[in-house]
Symmetry: C2
Subunit: 454 residues, 2 copies
């Protein structure tokens, strides 16, 4: 009597990505109360810079109390369900987006659509750009939640574009063409490519070369580009972040048709660490997409109370400057701890410069170069080492042995505990590992050295 | 290159319901700055009791500042994106729902799904209960937004069930059967009936007889019932509100299959007057619906900041008691003003006891008994009288000449200005009207006297 969506489990929540969370919730680590519990390293949360926001909140209780010049604006906010959002908030958001991109691009608040989180922004774009049964190409590895966000309710299909460790999982013209051919074989009409830049799970920013391949491909095939840039404020190391919009401008395509087929998704969940406040958005130069998406945003508007607070917060330019600088410094430090901790255990990460996670190579720890072995290792790390990390298979990675490990949702102390646990695990299993390592070496599965840090 | 949803205007926003809003926005009434402007009577907002909430907010600045026992809970809230919502909030919500229903039913927070507004709640239920191309029966007249909420992105169809002014637009077994037959003729599989109780736009509560017809029908046909009860806290006059859940309990159907096919939609937008805060919810005894809807709520979660505030607000039992009592008294007073104002101009309303609007009979003012004439009259009232009201056709009413007029989004003074304008309009057009009235009388289109007040 229910719909197929409700009867079938097509939302993708049963992957190990989500299962690991459930295990963590049963036995969460606490330094004093549960020191042997599971450490949550599967959650891309930014908890490093709350103190800066808290100190701002302390100084701005008037805003929290929904007051302006001492007078309550509660009535106004309580009633404000206009899907265009608070103008002051949108103005601050586009300024913030521009600042993150080094003010190389100017964003127009008229082209911005507010949504209750990026989850909703991505789904709305699917509803706007593709009919059920049409497809979007996604480079692998990709964020596990996309299976739910892009496909579940829209009926849109995802065609994976397999990227390889041999070139550091970069997007190439031939990989794009192959994905297109694959879609053709499946009789699927491709409507666009969706990329995450910086990449989740890789933690890398896209190069101009990659972005250019993408734009050229989208022009040739007459399709859309969605650039999910929700980690754009987390770029803590060089090279600097380049937005798809910059490439469009540089190639003087701003007034070309392609410009109307490029759409950015953004959110404050990662860059400002407030996922609970549900602030997402779509930026598009396509008038029809903006107007349709705005109407669709009725299904997930942002609380006006929260819009009001964040408009004031982002409007404080000293705050945003300080926050961004300190936050990046802290992310970088945390990344260094995890990188050196893993290295100490003989484990390497993909060279990265952004995000709240590392993309970690554990192929040498697999009993066989298979996804079954990857799952075995994942379980061992979850239950025996007590770390919840995400296996590459949950990100649709085409090579077994990669894992995403998050580092920004915990203190340095907890991160160090995690690294010690890994070291102990590796050392106590060294004989076993050396045997397996020789197996994997023979299988010639190693990533080229230059793509790996150190 | 866009989807059909984006290319076609299938969201229903071009009805006169929404067009009237746009006209209002161009020329909004203000007692001093724009005394000849349009008065907005097409918006079901409750602005009558803000002072009570404001005075609570004034006394509880700690809650607004996201503090608990003087300590900040900002971090906790910033991170809380769990789609199960804040447990404290859900506990208060089910208590509030029970209180509105005279504590005749007990609600379990486990069966509650939080959504960003009832708009999203209704859409989620469609995604859970019906496949694209399947249908829900809706008694007419119904809320104009349902065309967007239920059909647009889900692909579900609405089969109108035509109710008649002859019995005060009540739901009857034969009307249900007719709608079912109509669906059959259209080759549509009916998955359920959706009712609004109290009704928007009628402003009436459903009788036990109607609810029993509905339950019997849903048992016979093996289909779902969605009861949208977002106005349940606005019942300001007898008879008292009866929820569908009470009928299920009274007929001892609680453990029957039908109980798992009854779903309630609720919201704080109307009863508490906070649509900008985006608080909606689904209550269902169906485990699978609850779990699927919970997953779907990812596309529109409620800001944790807002959940925290409202949990504290509703948790103050003295506040909720006072608010509900005072609010009902004020709604009743406002309703009396509009009713007597309209009567003074020779216009009658359907006898009602709830909601933020009246269902008004203006058939005698139509030049012909057609929807074209209704639109003409609507335009005249919008542009010449300066009132934005909603024509019955926008609510899919099957009889021309009915209008929904909202009364709770303005002060008594503004309401009186609106009534004076109507009176002047009618008086100055009395000769014309008397001619038309005789026409309509002949067409025998009158509602039976006992269903009309006075």
């Amino acid at each position: 009597m229910l719909s197929r969506k409700a009867s079938e489990d097509s939302h993708g929540q049963d992957s190990s990505y989500f299962l690991g969370w459930q295990e963590y919730e049963k036995n969460p680590y606490h330094p004093i109360h549960n020191p042997t519990g599971i450490i949550q390293m599967g959650l891309a949360e930014n908890q490093l810079s709350f103190d800066i926001v808290e100190s701002w909140l302390e100084r701005n209780s008037d805003t929290l109390e929904m007051k302006k010049d001492g007078m309550s604006v509660f009535r106004e906010l309580a009633l404000c369900q206009d899907y265009h959002g608070l103008p002051a908030f949108k103005n601050e958001l586009v300024e913030f987006m521009a600042k993150i991109r080094g003010n190389e691009i100017k964003f127009d608040p008229k082209n911005l659509v507010l949504t209750a989180g990026a989850t909703s922004a991505n789904e709305i774009l699917m509803f706007c750009l593709a009919n059920p049964g049409e497809a979007f190409i996604l480079p692998t590895p990709y964020y596990p939640g996309f299976d739910r966000d892009l496909k579940w309710r829209t009926g849109v299909e995802i065609v994976p574009m397999h990227c390889s460790s041999l070139n550091g999982f970069k997007i190439t013209s031939s990989a794009l063409e192959q994905a297109c051919q694959h879609a053709k074989n499946l009789n699927l009409k491709v409507k666009g490519v969706l990329v995450t830049n910086p990449s989740n799970p890789l933690g890398t920013t896209m190069t101009k070369t990659e972005l250019n391949h993408l734009v050229t491909f989208a022009i040739d095939k007459n399709i859309h580009i969605i650039s999910d840039e929700i980690y754009s404020g987390t770029v803590f190391d060089s090279p600097k972040f380049v937005s798809i919009m910059e490439v469009i401008n540089e190639r003087s395509l701003k007034n070309d048709e392609i410009s109307k087929r490029v759409h950015i998704v953004y959110s404050l969940s990662k860059d400002l660490g407030v996922p609970g406040f549900r602030v997402g958005m779509i930026y598009s130069n396509n008038e029809k997409v903006v107007s349709t998406a705005t109407k669709m945003s009725s299904f997930g508007l942002i609380s006006s109370q929260t819009q009001y607070l964040l408009a004031k917060l982002l409007g404080d330019k000293k705050f945003t400057f300080d926050y961004m600088e300190v936050n990046k410094t802290r992310l970088k430090k945390q990344k260094e701890i995890i990188e050196s901790g893993l290295k100490n255990a003989g484990i390497q990460c993909l060279k990265s410069n952004a995000g709240l996670f590392c993309w970690v190579d554990m192929k040498h720890l697999l009993s066989y170069a298979t996804f079954e072995a990857e799952k075995e290792l994942w379980k061992m790390i979850l239950y025996r080492v007590g770390l919840n990390i995400s296996p590459g298979s949950s990100c649709h990675c085409s090579e077994p042995g990669w894992f995403r490990i998050c580092f920004a949702n915990m203190s340095q102390e907890t991160l160090k505990v995690a690294m010690r646990r890994i070291k102990v695990f590796i050392d106590s299993n060294s004989t076993m590992i050396s045997i397996k390592q020789s197996f994997v070496n023979n299988a010639n599965y190693y990533i080229t050295r230059r793509e790996i840090t150190n």
